[in-house]
Structure formats: structure tokens, C-alpha cells
């Protein structure tokens, strides 16, 4: 490693520390800040973002990157990531970045009202402006990177996988779903409805339960918090991860499964290589990789029969209710219930990919110039009909439901389903490597799973792109059959 590379490493450490500061302020804005602090918080975050951007694109950096030399896998990967980030940052004129930030902010604000009143016409001109600037952004990134415009946007969320690779995987899933969904519904109908869990579930008790579970499955009290916010998320920094949730006293599963999901994200952050902290190669490998870690904890592990058999008696002791209601088979009926719905965030794991496939196709067409914003509601309705056989009754339950596009995020959606598929593939490999994994889950013990994930996923940081990470961990690139096998076993094989 030469002097230029050493200087770049120091510089990155400072930029990352400023990024961590912004992450804590974002968490605070959602979990702690009084309403009246909002305008000032906007100034603080804008100042941080502007400062980070200025520092990341300072004139000396191009020369240093050209001169830099780094030996060894990790340093070489680190330098390559620095170069890539610089290429992307300098590809965009400042005016475009600023215009996008303004347009996104304006659109997001109008969207909140438009969604509440299901008034697409209201947000349409704002969304058109957001899209226009995103297409300009995509074109500039494409010119710099040699990727297609849509891939260039997607790379900002998940490196190492292209739309051309995603498309056949999603097409195969669509074909699978066409047969699997009616069959799963049929099996479900034959089994009859679940016994409801008798609420209310006091928020204070839920909070204690969620925190206990979060710690039990591997999070350390000294390095984490659990708080409340309207929209649950995992924020903070790798040594200080901060989960938020929202307690509904009528619905136990919402916070419970939500916190287990966010704990998966948090454990990934905790497991990142500390020796590379605040360097690009020490970060998580991307949004799909991140989602694989939340879903392997929530969907693969926590909703398994084994873990439910541990959870049932614990919940019953805490909240009271009948033994039958908290029996594993009943919890499975409740928390592995399949249903064709309009809302992505409420969807079960079988139909969830259909929501993502719809958005993936629409946003590719929008970025490609093959679909106009004015035609979005119609295209949405058609697409959902083709995938799930249902048509949203209004735009609030259609193309207005997600914040993403209205905040300028195009190319993010595939990460959800790539993560779900990766989670199944990783779980299969972990089970093969750790024969006691399911027996441990039945004791509420995720140590075997977590140990394997730490060694085979977390410890890599972002040294490997999405496909290479899967290759290293499971011996093959993304293989959607593992996800289909998981769904078949869980929803289609059972008597």
C-alpha cells in the first residue's frame, strides 16, 4: 500500500464517520426528535450530505485514486470500491444532484397527501419531474460505468447483479406462482381457519418480549437499542445498532416479526469485519444481501415450526390464552397465512415477489422511456391482475402505496425478492453445514445459524458482489430453486 492509498483510507474513514453521524440523526428524527426540530434537522442532514459530497469529490481524489496501489485481496477490493464510488459520484453534475434532491423532497411531501386521499393526479406532475431527473441521472451513470441506465441505478443499491440476470429469475417465479398460489390456497382452505390469539397485547410487555428475543438470538445489549417509530427500521452504526418498531396492541405479530426482521439486519451490521470499519470494503454487501439477512432470521428461522414450538409457550406464559391457540400448528396458520392482497408490505412470503416483479417491470419501463407516468395507474392494475388476479380498488392501494419512486428510488425494489431468494439458498447451505441448526431453533437458540452467517456472509463485508458472495457461501450463484423448494415444503407439501 502506497501513500496515496493510505491517504484515501484516512479520507474514507472521516467520510464514513460523518455518514455514521447522519445515520444517528436519521434514527433520532424518527424515534426521538420533537416535531419542532424537523426544519433544523433538515438543515443538519443537508449540511452533512453536502459536506460529504464535497469531500468525496475533492479535486485531489482523482489523482490519488490514479496513483493508489493496494496489495492483497481486501485492500485491492477496497481500492476498487473507492474507484467505483468516485466514478459514480463524479458522473453527476452538482446541479443534477441538487435538482434531484429538491424534486424528490417536493414529490415525497405531496405524495403523503396524495396517498391519504388516493389522488394520483395531484402527485403526477411531481413524479414526472422526479422521473425526468432520474432518467438523466441513469443516463449519466450509464455513460460513466458502461452499464445500462436501469442497471446503473440498481448498482447504487446492490452491486454485482444485473436486470438481465434478474429477469429470467423473476419470470420463472411468475410461472411457479401461477400453479403454487391456487394450490397453497386450496391446502389452506382445507386446513380451516386459525384460532385467533386473544389480545390485547400490552405495548410494555411486547417491548420486553421483543428486546429479550432480539438479545437471545444474538444482539448485544451494549451495542444496540430498541425504540419506537411510525415506520420500523434498523439504523445507527455497526457498533451501535438501533432497531425501531411500532406496537399494535391488537396484533402481536406486527412488532414481534418486525423486530425479528430488523434484528437480522442488525446482526449483519454487528458481524461486519471490524478491521475494515469505515472503509468501503467493510460495509454490508448491498441491499439484497442485507434483506437476505433480515429474511433468513424472520422468514426462514423465526417462522419455522422449530422456532414457533419454542415461541408458543413463551408467548402464552406472557399474554395468557389457550394452549391450542399457541400450539405450533396454529401459530403456523396465523403467521404463514397466504393471501392475495394489494399491499406489498402486508404480503406473505409466497405472494410478496409478485409485488416486487410488478414494480421491477414498471420501473424498468419508466426508466427506459417505455412507460409514461400518466399510464402508471393503468399499467399497475393490469400488471397486478396478471400476477395475482386482483385489481386495486384505488391508487392508494395501487401505485401510490410505496414511498420509493416518490422519493427518487428507482432500482431498489428487486433487492427485496433477491434477498428472499438468497435467504432460502443460504438457509439450505447453513442447514447442511450445521446439522443441529433446527434442534437449536426449537430451543430458541439461533447460535448455529448466526455462527454460520457470521463466517460465510457477514465477515466478507462488501469484498464480494451479490453473486460472488452467494458463490462463496453456497457454492453457486443465485439459484431460485432453493426458494421454490422452501416454499413448496412450507406451503404445498404439508398434508
Amino acid at each position: 500500500m502506497n501513500a496515496a492509498y493510505a491517504r484515501l483510507k484516512d479520507h474514507n474513514a472521516r467520510l464514513a464517520a460523518l455518514g455514521e453521524a447522519a445515520a444517528v440523526l436519521h434514527w433520532d428524527a424518527s424515534a426521538m426528535m420533537p416535531r419542532g426540530g424537523g426544519a433544523a434537522r433538515g438543515e443538519q442532514l443537508a449540511a452533512l450530505a453536502g459536506t460529504i459530497h464535497d469531500l468525496a469529490t475533492a479535486p485531489w481524489i482523482a489523482d490519488a485514486l490514479a496513483e493508489a496501489e493496494a496489495g492483497g485481496d481486501w485492500d485491492a477490493a477496497n481500492l476498487a470500491l473507492m474507484r467505483r464510488a468516485h466514478l459514480r459520484a463524479t458522473a453527476l453534475p452538482t446541479e443534477l444532484v441538487e435538482a434531484s434532491a429538491r424534486a424528490n423532497s417536493a414529490c415525497e411531501k405531496v405524495w403523503r397527501d396524495a396517498k391519504a386521499t388516493s389522488d394520483f393526479a395531484r402527485v403526477r406532475p411531481y413524479l414526472e419531474e422526479v422521473l425526468r431527473l432520474q432518467r438523466e441521472t441513469a443516463a449519466a451513470l450509464a455513460a460513466a460505468t458502461g452499464l445500462s441506465p436501469y442497471d446503473a441505478l440498481m448498482e447504487g443499491y446492490q452491486r454485482g447483479v444485473t436486470a438481465a440476470e434478474v429477469e429470467p429469475v423473476f419470470a420463472a417465479y411468475e410461472a411457479f406462482l401461477r400453479e403454487a398460489l391456487p394450490r397453497a390456497e386450496e391446502i389452506q382452505a382445507k386446513r380451516g381457519p386459525a384460532l385467533p390469539l386473544a389480545g390485547p397485547f400490552p405495548a410494555a410487555k411486547q417491548r420486553e418480549l421483543c428486546r429479550d428475543l432480539s438479545l437471545r438470538i444474538g444482539l448485544e445489549a451494549d451495542h444496540s437499542r430498541l425504540d419506537e417509530s411510525l415506520h420500523p427500521f434498523c439504523g445507527g452504526t455497526p457498533t451501535d445498532v438501533r432497531i425501531t418498531t411500532f406496537y399494535s396492541e391488537d396484533d402481536l405479530a406486527k412488532a414481534l416479526m418486525g423486530v425479528l426482521h430488523e434484528t437480522g439486519h442488525a446482526l449483519y451490521e454487528r458481524g461486519l469485519p471490524a478491521a475494515w470499519s469505515r472503509q468501503p470494503v467493510g460495509e454490508a454487501a448491498g441491499m439484497a444481501a442485507h434483506e437476505s439477512q433480515s429474511l433468513i432470521v424472520e422468514m426462514q428461522a423465526s417462522r419455522s415450526d422449530a422456532f414457533l414450538s419454542f415461541l408458543g409457550p413463551k408467548l402464552r406464559a406472557l399474554f395468557g390464552g389457550s394452549e391450542a391457540a399457541y400450539a405450533t400448528a396454529n401459530l403456523a396458520k396465523l403467521w404463514r397465512h397466504v393471501e392475495r392482497g394489494f399491499i406489498r408490505v402486508d404480503a406473505d412470503e409466497l405472494t410478496y415477489p409478485a409485488h416486487v416483479i410488478l414494480r421491477f417491470r414498471l420501473e424498468r419501463a419508466l426508466i427506459g422511456g417505455d412507460l409514461a407516468i400518466g399510464d402508471l395507474p393503468g399499467a399497475w392494475a393490469e400488471g397486478l391482475k396478471a400476477l395475482l388476479g386482483i385489481v386495486p380498488p384505488d391508487d392508494a392501494r395501487g401505485c401510490l402505496q410505496d414511498i420509493h419512486w416518490h422519493d427518487g428510488a428507482f432500482g431498489y425494489f428487486p433487492s427485496y425478492t433477491l434477498g428472499a431468494m438468497a435467504a432460502a439458498q443460504l438457509m439450505k447451505a447453513a442447514r447442511a453445514a450445521e446439522p443441529g441448526l433446527d434442534a437449536a431453533l426449537a430451543r430458541g437458540d439461533m447460535a448455529p445459524l448466526l455462527g454460520w452467517l457470521r463466517a460465510n456472509v457477514h465477515a466478507h463485508g462488501s469484498r464480494l458482489g451479490f453473486q460472488d458472495l452467494l458463490r462463496a457461501a453456497t457454492g453457486k450463484p443465485l439459484d431460485p430453486r432453493d426458494f421454490q423448494d422452501h416454499l413448496t415444503a412450507r406451503y404445498l407439501d404439508a398434508a
Copy 2:
């Protein structure tokens, strides 16, 4: 106002927003952060401090400051403050600023444990490093400003006061105290002991009471928080002020008076001129001015007979107990009790200045190189003996009790007593201007006092230095006789 000045104003707005980010992170570190986040928080604060310093000392600024022209009192004062800040900032190399931030953060963390176990040896090497860097800082600032090293540090907390001005004021107080303290003790002994308030006082009830009082006397719920931390403080930003306290279930006064004190600080921040927000002239006038605002609320207003007569029945309704215990005269005995004690933050207003005088003398000697950290415990014991006639039984109750030095704050302590003196002077002027002030206090209403403070102190921001602010508000510079008159009336005249 010319282009250079306009550019400097924009630049200051960004720097101030980054400073606000740091303020929120400091609050978070004390009130929210899990222990394991400490090291990363140190990096984040160091990166912010370093970045702010770099931006504040960018080469173009010297030229812009030379070119800048600003008309009108406020802009002229703003520009003068920018020039002074630049002079101070350019006096310090970036490496020194960053090393200090890191050393302070490390020392503060160790101090928490050292204090808990009264283990001065544990923190000693960290404190030595903090002092070494502070002496370097003081020398660099002294060279740039022409002040003495200690004055140069003190100016960072309160502009326009020198140690040479403070010294005779403190010496006079020492002389006053030598006679006043035995006399106050004698009067107190004659009156007999107070009836104790019957605890325990549940923390949850105290929290609600403290929040209610804080809002009642003028803080807005949408612009403030009340949380817990080991060392109570008022942090955050002017539109989002964050008070912390520490609840003792045996001692009602601790959190109650603490929160009233911090509310005084918070009201000052809330009352600063919004039109000058994120500009030097829009900030508070300094730490002594700040302390005058906390002490006028806590010591002058809240411990007055009038306010105690409002508070007593309210507290009795909340916690139960005898009418006699909550009578004004008894609360006055309890909460205006004079006692020679070891702990500054527990001291009454008569002996408090002695604690400050001790620290003022010791820190001047430390910065001057006339006292080594290793000799601090002994010098502390001697000094306290000379001032109050008592010797601390251990270092936890001696030189480990305060966070200040362990967090790199030298030159801060005089502000407490300058503030106490200013509070008495301002209260006298407010009473003269608002004849209904005491009658309002008896109804728990601080609006007349707050209205006067907003107009005569808060609204000035830092347009005026400490002495000029007092001149504008009271018609004269700091006059310690008002404080002695207040103490005489409260502790020495009463039958």
C-alpha cells in the same frame, strides 16, 4: 452587505448546522447511546470537529473576511464575531483539534468508571493527556489573540471577561463568605431543622412533575425533550432543546430543581433571535450569560418564597405528606439550606462560589504549568480546606466529581459564579420593570419574568458581550453587590 460577507454567512450556516449535528450526538451519547457505541461516537465527533475546523479555516475565508463589509449593528457584530472565531480557529492545527476530541472522549469514558470507584489513578494518564493537549491549545490561542493562555481558553466559553477581572471579584466573595457563612449557619441553627419530606418519590411521578413544570414556565412540548443522564445538562439545538436529569427516589429536590435550572438554559436557547439562527450573532452570549438564565429561573425565581408557596400544595397533592412539611417556610428551610459540602452540584448558592473559586484557581495553575495532575488530589483538599474548612474523604467527592476537565473543558468554571452574580443583578432589574413579577411567581406563573428576559437578554443573541449585555439590561456592568444583597436578604437578614 457585499458578496464576500454573503458568502461567509452561507458558509457559517453550514458550519453551524454541522455543529448542531454534533450537539445532538453529544446529547445522544449521554442519554441514549449503548456503552458499546462509545468508540465509534468518539470517531464521529472527531470527524465532525475536524471537518468543521477544516471548513472554518479554509484558505478562501481569510480573504473573504478581509473583503467583507457589513452595515448595521447586527451584521457588523456578526462579522466581528466571524473574524474573532476565525482568528481562534486558525490558531489551532487540525491534528491538535482532532487529537483533543479523541483524548477528551477517551478520558470522559474512563472517568465514568473512575468516579464510580473513586479511582483517580485509573483516569490520571487520560487526564494528563487531555491537559497536555489543552495546554498546547491555550498556548496557540494565546499567541494568536494576545491574551494569556488561561484567558484564551476562558474566552472560548465567555467572551470579554479575563481572569484578572475575575480574581478580585472572587477574592471579595471569599472575604464576604468568611463572615457570611458562619452567620448564616448560626441563623439556620437557631431556626431549627426542617421537617423532612416523606419519600420515596417514584421516578415516574417526578418525571411527569418536572416535565409539567418545565412546560408551565414556558418551554414548548414540540420543541423540547426531557430525558435521563448521569450528569444533567441542557443540549440539543434552539428549536429542539434537550434537557436531561437524574431522578433520586429519596430526594425530590435534586431532579426538581435540576430541571428548573436546565429549563432556564433551554428558555434562553428558545428565545434567541430566529432571524439570526446559525450565525455567530444569533448564538447565546456565552456560558456566564447562559448560567445567569438557568440560575435566575432556579435560584432567583423557583426558590423564592412566592414560587415555593405555589409549589408546596402541588407537591403535597402529588406525593402526600403533612401540610407542615410542604409549607413555604419549611420548603425554604429544606431548599435554601446552607451547608459546607464536598460536592459542587449539591452546593447551596452561598457556598457554591467557593467550589468555583477552588476550581478556577486549580485550573489556572494546571494550564499555567504550576500544578501537575498527579498533585491535583492534594491541592484540591488543601484548597477546599482553606475556603470551606472541610477536606474531601475521597477523590470521588474531590477532583473526580466533575466531568469538565475530564472532557477537556478548562476555563469554564468561572462562568457558574459570574452567572449567579448576573442572575441577581438581572432579577433586581426585572422586578423593578415588572411590578407583578412576584405575585405571578406565587401563581406558578413565570410569564412576566420570561417576557422581560426575552426582550432584555435572549433577543440580543451574542450581539453584546457579557458586560454590555448587563449594561443594556440593567444600566450597569456586573455589580457583585446585587448578588451579596440577594444573599444577605435571603440568608442573613431574616429573623
